[in-house]
Amino acid sequence: MPLSEQEMGKSPMRMRDKLVLRVVSMAFIPFILLFALYVQFHGDYGPGGGFQAGVIFAAGVILHGLIFGLRSAERVIPPKVVEIMSALGLLLYVGTGLLCVALGGRFLEYGVLDHHDPVHGQHYGIILVEAGVGIAVASVMLCIYYAVAGRGRR
């Protein structure tokens, strides 16, 4: 497949110009991200959960960064967003606990989240908490990748 002048850029040897690698990773990255979401939300029924989903999501973005360059990955998910999200993930966890307190329960007592059926309340609480864990882990991992890989460029 002939590449346009712009795609070729200055150097013809860049990682993204390697056809097999680029096509395979373009096919892989959506599946990795989708699989991360599957692991996140299927974690109640099978193996998986927030910790695993966060790392897998980060692995997908890291793969993008490896193939298309760190700059490109930082355009997809800017470092500023990552920094904010890592705090938001933890806040979502703590916020769920505080919501339980506000609704009259104890800290992280999810039963009060649904006033008809405490078991449903447990489900809501676990989903919220796992989402918080997933967001926090994914953004911290990406943060670390940006920081460490950015150093290697010098």
Binding site: I56, I67, G152, R153
Partner: protein, 97 residues
């Protein structure tokens, strides 16, 4: 039967480990480590079926997907010397992929 298959897979992994440790060039090592990863996927599939819980193939899937990232990182590192830029360090290097 399944146990015999698992023993076979582990023996193959040991052979790959010999190549990964001894391997004179980087590419022997990369291939051998990749092979250990593939054999682990097989081992987990067989183990899942032997335990009667075949739904744990999820695990094998995550190996297949994430191991690819690690391999690309290895290959990129030994080609470019870092993980960030997509410019080769030295001009006129051999095409390896």
């Amino acid at each position: 039967m399944l146990s015999a298959a698992m023993v076979g897979v582990v023996v193959t992994m040991m052979l790959a480990l010999v190549r990964a440790t001894a391997g004179p060039t980087v590419f022997d090592r990369v291939l051998a480590v990749n092979m250990i990863g593939t054999k682990t996927i097989l081992l987990i599939c067989i183990g899942g079926f032997a335990a009667g819980r075949p739904d744990f193939v999820d695990l094998a899937l995550v190996y297949g997907l994430v191991n690819f990232t690690g391999m690309v990182a290895l290959v990129k590192f030994c080609r470019f010397g870092n993980l960030a830029s997509d410019q080769p360090e030295e001009a006129g290097a051999q095409e390896v992929l």
